[in-house]
C-alpha cells in the first residue's frame, strides 16, 4: 500500500513538473537557480519584475515564440 502511494506521489510529481515546464510557470525558478549558481552575491529580480521582462521581450522581437498557421 505504502509503496503504491509512493509511486502515485512520484507520478504526480512528474506530471506537475512536466506541466510547469510546459506552461513556463517554472521559468522564474529556473532563472533564480541560474542566477544563484553563477553569482551567489547577486540580487536576482523579483518574480513580478522577471515576468514583466519576459513578456516584454516578445515586444522587441515578435519572431520569438511565433506560432504557425
Amino acid at each position: 500500500m505504502r509503496e503504491h502511494t509512493g509511486r502515485l506521489r512520484e507520478l504526480a510529481g512528474k506530471l506537475r513538473w512536466y506541466w510547469r515546464e510546459l506552461t513556463g510557470e517554472s521559468a522564474y525558478d529556473r532563472y533564480l537557480a541560474h542566477a544563484r549558481a553563477h553569482d551567489p552575491g547577486a540580487s536576482p529580480l523579483s518574480r513580478r519584475e522577471f515576468e514583466r521582462r519576459r513578456t516584454d521581450a516578445a515586444e522587441d522581437d515578435p519572431r520569438e515564440g511565433f506560432r504557425c498557421c
Partner: protein, 709 residues
Amino acid sequence: MWTLVAIAGAVGWAMLALARGEEVSATWMVVAALGTYAIGYRFYSRFLAHRVLKVDKNRATPAERLNNGVDFHPTDRRVLFGHHFAAVAGAGPLVGPVLAAQMGYLPGTIWIVVGVIFAGAVQDMVTLFFSTRRDGRSLGQMARDEVGPVGGAAALIAVFAIMIILLAVLAMVIVNALAESPWGVFSIAMTIPIALFMGFYLRVLRPGRVTEVSVIGVMLLLLAIVSGGWVAESSWAETFTLSPGALVVWMVIYGFVASVLPVWMLLAPRDYLSTFMKVGTIALLAIGVIVAMPSLKMPAVTEFASRGDGPVFAGSLFPFVFITIACGALSGFHSLVASGTTPKMIQKETQVRMVGYGAMLTESFVAIMAMVAACIIDPGLFFAINAPAGAIGDTVQSASEAVANFGFTISPQDLTAAAEAVEEDSLLSRTGGAPTFALGMSEIFSAVIGGAGMKAFWYHFAIMFEALFILTTVDAGTRVGRFMLQDMLGNVYKPFREVSWKPGVWIASAVVVGGWGYFLWAGVHDPLGGINQLFPLFGIANQLLAAVALAVCTTLLVKSGRLKWAWVTAVPLAWDVAVTLTASWQKIFSGDTAVGFFAQRQVYADAIDAGKVIAPAKDMDDMHTVVLNSTVNGVLAAFFALLVIVILVDAGRVCYRAIRYPEQVVLHEAKFEQSRIVAPAGFFPTAEEKAELAEASRSDRGHPATGAR
C-alpha cells in the same frame, strides 16, 4: 514487432484503397496512418539522424554553450517536444485536408502520410539540425550566410508575402464561419474581455501564475460558448448578427489594435488560452475518433480528381491536392519555428530526431483527423457547405439541385435539418473548412458525449477553438510582418528600426493590416468565392517557403560534404518545385477559366466590353471585381513562381561551386565544444543511455541540473 506494425499499416491501407461502394470505418485510416508513421520514424528518421546528419551526442548545443537561463537553456526533450508541437500545429492542418476532401479521402490521405515522412518531417528535422549548429540562426539569416545576398533577400521577401496571404486566408476562414451567426460572434467577442482579464491577472495580481489563470480562462471560455446559445435566442441576437462585409471591418480594426497593444494585455493571455484549447481539443478528437469509430461517407476518389472542375477549388489532382494540403504534409512555415526558438532550447543534438521529425508526424496526424472529420459527414452536405454561393445559389432548393449536378444527393429538408441541428440559420456556402470541420467534430463528439442534443454546443465549441487561435495568429502574424517591414524600411529611414518609435510601429502595422485586409475584403466580396480563389495562392506561397527551406538544407548538405546524401532534401525539393511551378503555370497560363487567372480575366473583360454580365456575377460592379481580383491574383502567382526560380538558381550556383571547388567552401557553423550534458535521444532511454545516465549521476552528484530527470 516491427513486422506486426507494418502488417497493421498495410491492412489499413488495403481497407482504404480497396473499398468499393461501401463505407469504410475511419479507424482504418487512423491505423494506416499510425502504422506508417511508426515505420517512417523508426527507420527513415533514424537513417537521417545517424547516416545523413551524423548527429553528435558529444557536441554541445547552443542551449548548453550559451545558457542564460532565459531564452537559451537546455530544455527537457519531452517538454521541448510539447513546445515545438504547440508552435507548429495551428489552423492549417485543419483547413487544407477538409478542402482536399472534394477529391475523395484517398488522394489527400496518401499525400499527408507519404508527404510528411519523406518531405515535411525531413524539412523540419534538417532545418532544426542546421540551425542548432548555427546558434539558432533564422532561416533568412542562414539563406544569406550560406547561399548569398540574392537568395537571402528572396527568402525574406517570400516570408513577408506569405505572411500577408496567410493572414488574409485565415481571417477569411473566420469571417465565413462567423457571418450571420450570432452565437459564434458573441462567443468570440467574449474572448477579448476574458483575455484582457487574464492579462491583468498575470501582470498585476499574480505574475507568472499561468496555471491558475488558465483554469479560470478556460472556465470563462466554456461559459462564453454556452451563453452564446442564449444570446442567439434572445433579443440581442440582432446585434451580434453580422454580415461578411461588417466582419471584415471588425477583423481589420481588431488586427490593428491588437498588434499595437502591449503583448501582455491581449496576445500573451490569448496565446495561453488558444494553446490549451488546441492541444486539449486535438487530444479529445483523437480519443473521439477511436471511441466513436465513425465510417467514411465520402468516396475514396471522386470524379473531381480527374476532371479538375471541383466547386471547392478548381484544378486537377496534380498539382492542386499537393498545394491545398500544405500543413500536415509539407509546410514551409515550420522552417521558421525550427530555426527560431526550438534550436536555442534543445538539450542534445541527438534530440533533433524526436523533436523535429516527431512533432511533425504528430501534426500530420492532426491533418488526418481533419480529413476524418470532413469525410464522415454526408458528401451532399459537404459540397453544400463548401461550394461558393455563386455555384449553388442561396436557397436550400437551389443548393440541393446544384449538389445533384455534382453527382451527390441531399434533399432541401436534410440541408435545413443539418443547420437546425447546430442551431445555425444556414450552412450553405460556409466555405473555408472550419464549419465543415466543426460539423464533423460535433458528429464525433456528440456520439461520445451528450448525444444529438449536444451537437450545437460541440459545433460552436469547434468554431470557437479554431477562431481563437486564428485570431491569435492574426495578432502575432501582424507583429511579425510589421517587424520585418520595420527592418526593411529602416534601410531607408533609420528610426523605423526602433521598436519603441511609436509612429513607425503604427505605420508599419497599418501597412501590414492593410495588406491582408485588402485580400480579405476582395476575397469576401469575390463573386467566384474567396477561398476558391485565394487558397491555392496560400498553398503556393507555403510550398514556396518550403522550397526555400529545402534549398537551404540541400545547399548546406552539399557544402558540409554530405553530397552523397543530398538527395534526402533534394528529392522533396524537386517534387515541391514541380508542384509549385506547375500550379503557378496553370494559374497563370491555363486556358480553363476556372483555373487560369488570366483566362478568367479575359473572359470577364471581354464580357464587360460587350456590356454583358456573366453568372455568378450579378451586375457590372461584380464583373469589375472579378477582373481586378484575377489580375492581382495572377500577378501574385507569377511573382511567387519567380521567387522560387531565383532561390533555386542561386542555391544551384552555390552547390555547383561547392562541388567544383570544395577547398573554397566557407561554412558558418559554430565551433565544436564538448557537451557535458547526458540525456537520452528519444522518448524512452535505451539500455545504453540508462547506463550512461546512472554513470553521470554517480560522478556528478553536485550538479543535478546537468543530468536528465
